[in-house]
């Protein structure tokens, strides 16, 4: 975790540095804000990982002499076949079509999108197929 | 599963293969060429054109020299690396099933091929800054004379869909045209005196256009709502074609113009002729933005359609 944290936080510091140089040499708003936003994008998770890496035991994947037995057990849960991603995608498609071709498509988009998101969340809670 | 046991029979080198002295010498020569070339050639007046224009303005000639130097450096560096790839591919093609030595790093070489590009880039950036300061140097806005007392001609260029308008505010002349009409079917012509500083004010009436003259080695966007300013010092007379380089709609490829460099006395004659034929600032109304201005035009003979209907349809 430490390497990941350093990597992200390092990027964040770099962008903060570049952003400040950019501001004081050009006073250009858009670029400055985007660079600062990028700095925050790196510092936030990077700082979080660094904070946690001191308080947790190392991941097996970060131990150079770990064996497969060390990693034995449940890795994670990986949801199997699920129709909800497809339906959420179709909801998003119809939402964009609504913007292009008119509000008459909105009921389809809302119906598809909302029900698909609800379905997906419920599936997560239930555990879903594996 | 246990770890495979280490084979300690041959020496473990954390550095790469020992390079024989001859190879080292070739490497040093290559490095010297790559770093020294831009410095030496800059002083040597060795400027092949590599297909570009040598420039008819003082600014354009500066740009050309930088371009030529960078191309030479690029050819040397790129050529060396390319030859190295070819050499490696031939020299180390598979001869047998012997396992090659499994080295994976060489700190001295890695430092070398990091430091050399840094040096090359530093030299290139140095020359870039020098050239750029000269190319974009301008007299103050609305100046009538330079610091040395020479006259400054101000020309305001307005780009529009799909033509150009050239106003001479201090001479009461205005020339404009669309697409491929104009002298020689090459669009409207901007006449400029050689040997004098010309201050250009560039703006667009609608979308972003690109003002580009190959012989000036220069281009700049014509932006709506923002006036760009740059200077031109044309060195000798001639006809210099130009074109719009930023996609601006249907007839983007037809948005031609020319620049004609003439002697100052010819320029004075031309000014008088234009005023006499009515091409004054009052002739062409200032168009509201985003409406096609009404200028003199002749349907160009080689256009695919007359540019009378402008937006969107064909």
């Amino acid at each position: 975790m430490r390497v990941s944290g350093l990597f992200l936080a390092g990027l964040g510091i770099f962008f903060g540095f570049i952003g400040l140089i950019y501001w004081f040499t050009s006073y250009e708003d858009a670029g400055f804000l985007m660079l600062i936003g990028t700095a925050i994008l790196g510092l936030m998770p990077g700082g979080y990982y660094l904070w946690w890496s001191r308080r947790m035991r190392p991941l097996e994947s970060d131990l150079p002499d770990a064996t497969m037995d060390d990693g034995a057990g449940v890795v994670d849960s990986f949801p199997g076949s699920s129709i909800w991603p497809f339906l959420i995608g179709m909801g998003a498609l119809f939402a964009t079509l609504t913007f292009i071709f008119g509000l008459w498509l909105a009921p389809i988009a809302i119906a598809l999108g909302v029900s698909a998101v609800i379905g997906g969340v419920m599936e997560s809670r239930r555990g879903g197929t594996v | 599963m246990s770890l495979p046991s280490r084979d300690t029979s041959s020496a473990d080198t954390s550095e790469g293969p020992a390079t024989p002295t001859r190879e080292r010498r070739w490497k040093r020569l290559a490095v010297g060429l790559a770093v020294g070339a831009p410095l030496v050639l800059g002083g040597c007046n060795f400027y092949p054109s590599y297909g570009a224009s040598r420039g008819v303005t003082t600014q354009g000639q500066e740009t050309f020299k930088l371009y030529s130097g960078m191309m030479t450096t690029g050819i040397i560096v790129g050529g060396l690396v390319g030859l190295l790839i070819l050499y490696t591919a031939f020299r180390y093609r598979r001869r047998s099933d012997d396992m090659p030595k499994q080295f994976h790093e060489s700190i001295p070489i890695e430092i070398l091929y990091t430091a050399i590009p840094v040096l090359i880039v530093a030299v290139l950036f140095f020359y870039t800054v020098l050239t750029e300061n000269n190319v974009d140097a301008t007299v103050p806005n609305n100046a009538r004379i330079t610091t040395t007392g020479a006259p400054v001609l101000q020309v305001k260029i307005t780009a529009f869909q799909w033509g150009w308008r050239f106003d001479y505010p201090n001479n009461n002349v205005s020339v404009s045209g669309e697409t491929t009409n104009g002298p020689g079917g090459l669009g409207p012509q901007m006449v400029l005196p050689v040997g004098e500083t010309v201050q250009i004010l560039l703006v667009s009436n609608d979308v972003i256009h690109g003002f580009y003259v190959r012989d000036f080695n220069f281009s700049r966007y014509a932006l709506p709502g923002v006036q760009n300013r740059f200077d031109l010092n044309i060195i000798h007379t001639g006809l210099f074609p130009g074109q719009c380089t930023q996609i601006c709609g249907l007839y983007h490829s037809e948005m031609l113009f020319t620049v004609k460099g003439v002697t100052p006395s010819q320029f004075a004659t031309w000014t008088a002729t234009e005023i006499a034929t009515g091409h004054t600032l009052q002739r062409y109304p200032v168009p509201a933005s985003n409406t096609p201005p009404v200028y003199d035009h002749v349907t160009p003979s080689n256009a695919l359609a007359a540019p009378s209907s402008k937006k969107g349809s064909l």
């Binding site: 498609l93 | 930088l66 580009y212 719009c244």
Partner: protein
């Protein structure tokens, strides 16, 4: 226990394992799910398996590649003659816009991070799947929707978008580009943009969290490192594009004046936002392909990668710097800070050079064999070398003034993009095809594909550099005979036709491999990364056994233990540990 391989349409190899099959238990796996889950179309619609999603992405993106390639051939045909009237101005403008858009938004990126990375990264880090399988599936459906929408935008009234793939305001506003085609273009960017963002999240999470035991960050293959950095770049860049697109949409339909001068807006703002996305985007496109080549060259040199840490550092530097150079696309606007962007653009040449020397260093002293993946990788090296050098020229504002928006730039970006996405992309496809489909592609056809492509590539683009220096602008539908550009344009068109022909051999190779399959086995190339340890194609959840992971090529260590010793680099703790156990373990 033997069971059927999971993909039902694959012809089962005669001998499990094939000519190079080895490794314990790679074919004994549980796939009761294949017998009980959905089948047919419903199986595809509901699949969350990264392998299925990866293959779907690759097929869809290759289809868009061929459609866009056909558009390029029409463009080249039009330009082979001055005043040609093969297509009219409106159609021509739509063609180059959609050629660029399909290639950049729908092929190059999705093929790399949606296709190859989705398939290969979990295998390389030893994970059973991506971190968020359903999000992965959603990414694909968003991509398919966006791709269909963009491709179908030709058929609406007013035609497709026609303002170039960069859509500068005010040309893209409602006055200058009315019509649903532009709106479909914008909305498809929203859909594919979110697809990319979700894939980026998945990549970062998978590589951070789902590595197998012992697979430390500095042991993951460089392809996966590059995909990690690409994932982060995606998270940096695509939200900005989405914001810019939403604002343009509002300008077009909801009466805002963000980009229009009349309402007090700033057209150049679009360029700042777009290029803040656009420049990292081209590195999002390039880095995966660098990673592919970095994985292929060591295998066909029979040596480890030279300078692993240098490669990681170089990739991170390229990504970091690339976020600060966006306005080098705006040098000619006259309103950006030239020295800042020029210096950072020059600096990117340095880590790129490091990568080049590391690739050469990997080949140096090796035993090189030139099968198709290696040929394509070397083709990439030459193509990107020249494209990269001309890029350094463009980092200089005065030189940019004389070449911007001319065919010089067109040649530059085609060399770098084709070098990466086509040469390196097809290198990766030929390299991993045996793993994905369990069968080999024909070597002779692959070599013909390569040589035709390589020759056609240079014949197409060298004349474009020359004609650009002669003054030919880009995005022009015709030109004058008096310009003197005809000969070079004709030569370039001939080259383009040769490139097109080369892909016929590729398609034929695909068909041939399906009708006359040659079983591949687990590790036909003697590769070192983890994906070569499992069967071809891998079973459900990828691995039944894993070798010990002590370097970035665990499968090589497992297969060639006597050639392992120079491998223990990069991890000081491990080296010391090894020294301690040398006496103990024999």
């Amino acid at each position: 226990m033997t069971t059927t391989v999971e993909t039902p349409d694959l012809i089962e190899p005669e001998e499990p394992g094939g000519p190079n099959g080895h490794g314990p238990g790679t074919h004994e796996h549980e796939s009761e799910h294949a017998e009980h889950g959905p089948s047919g179309l419903l199986k595809w619609l509901t699949s969350t398996d990264h392998k299925v999603i990866g293959k779907s992405y690759m097929i869809t993106s290759l289809v868009t590649f061929f459609i866009s390639g056909a558009m390029a051939l029409v463009i080249r045909a039009q330009l082979s003659n001055p005043s040609s009237s093969l297509v009219n101005f409106q159609t021509y403008n739509e063609l180059f816009t959609m050629h660029g858009s399909l290639m950049l938004y729908l092929f190059a990126g999705p093929f790399a991070f949606g296709g190859l990375a989705n398939y290969i990264v979990p295998l390389q880090v030893g994970a059973p799947d991506m971190a968020y399988p359903r999000l992965n599936a959603l990414s694909y459906w968003l991509y398919l929707s966006g791709a269909s929408m963009m491709t179908l935008s030709f058929v609406v009234a007013g035609g497709a978008a026609s303002f170039g793939w960069v859509a500068y305001a005010p040309l893209s506003d409602s006055i200058n580009s009315p019509g649903a085609g532009t709106d479909m273009w914008l909305m498809s960017l929203a859909l594919t943009g979110f697809s990319a963002i979700f894939t980026g999240v998945n990549l970062v999470a998978t590589i951070f969290y789902l590595r197998a035991p012992g697979m430390t960050m500095f042991r993951i293959p460089i392809f996966s490192w590059n995909m990690l950095v690409t994932g982060i770049l995606i998270l940096i860049a695509f939200p900005v594009l989405f914001g810019a697109v939403v604002m343009l949409f509002c300008d077009r339909h909801f009466g805002t004046h963000i980009y229009s001068v009349q309402g007090g807006g700033v057209p150049v703002l679009w360029q700042h936002l777009f290029w803040f996305f656009g420049h990292p985007e081209v590195y999002i496109l390039a880095l995966p392909y660098f990673g592919i080549v970095t994985d292929i060259i060591p295998v066909f040199s029979r040596k480890p990668l030279f300078g692993y840490r240098g490669m990681v550092f170089a990739t991170m530097s390229i990504a970091a710097l690339s976020t600060g150079v966006w306005a080098h696309h705006m040098f000619t606007t006259g309103v950006v800070l030239l020295p800042f962007f020029s210096l950072l653009s020059y600096l990117i040449a340095i880590p790129t050079g490091i990568k080049f020397f590391n690739w050469i260093g990997t080949m140096w002293g090796g035993q090189l064999s030139f099968q198709t993946p290696m040929l394509f990788s070397i083709g990439f090296l030459f193509a990107f070398l020249m494209g990269g050098v001309t890029g350094v020229l463009l980092a200089s504002p005065p030189v940019d003034f004389m070449t911007h928006d001319t065919y010089f730039v067109v040649a530059h970006f085609h060399q770098v993009l084709i070098g990466t996405t086509v040469f390196a992309g097809f290198a990766g496809f030929y390299f991993w095809y045996p793993k994905m489909f369990g069968r080999m592609l024909n070597e002779r056809l692959g070599k013909i594909h390569f040589w035709l492509l390589f020759i056609g590539f240079w014949v197409t683009f060298i004349p474009q550099y020359i004609v650009g220096l002669k003054g030919m602008p880009r995005r022009v539908a015709d030109y004058l005979t008096s310009n003197g550009w005809t000969g070079l344009n004709q030569l370039s068109t001939v080259g383009a036709m040769v490139i097109g022909t080369s892909f016929l051999f590729f398609l034929f190779n695909l068909v041939h491999s399906w009708r006359k399959p040659v079983p591949a086995g687990d590790n036909p190339w003697d590769g070192g990364a983890l994906e070569w340890f499992t069967s071809s194609p891998p079973p459900h959840h990828n691995f039944t056994h894993l070798p010990p992971i002590r370097s970035e090529r665990p499968v090589w260590d497992y297969n060639h233990p006597e050639h392992h010793k120079d491998e223990s680099h990069g991890d000081k703790r491990h080296r010391e540990h090894e020294k301690e156990t040398v006496g103990a373990s024999s």
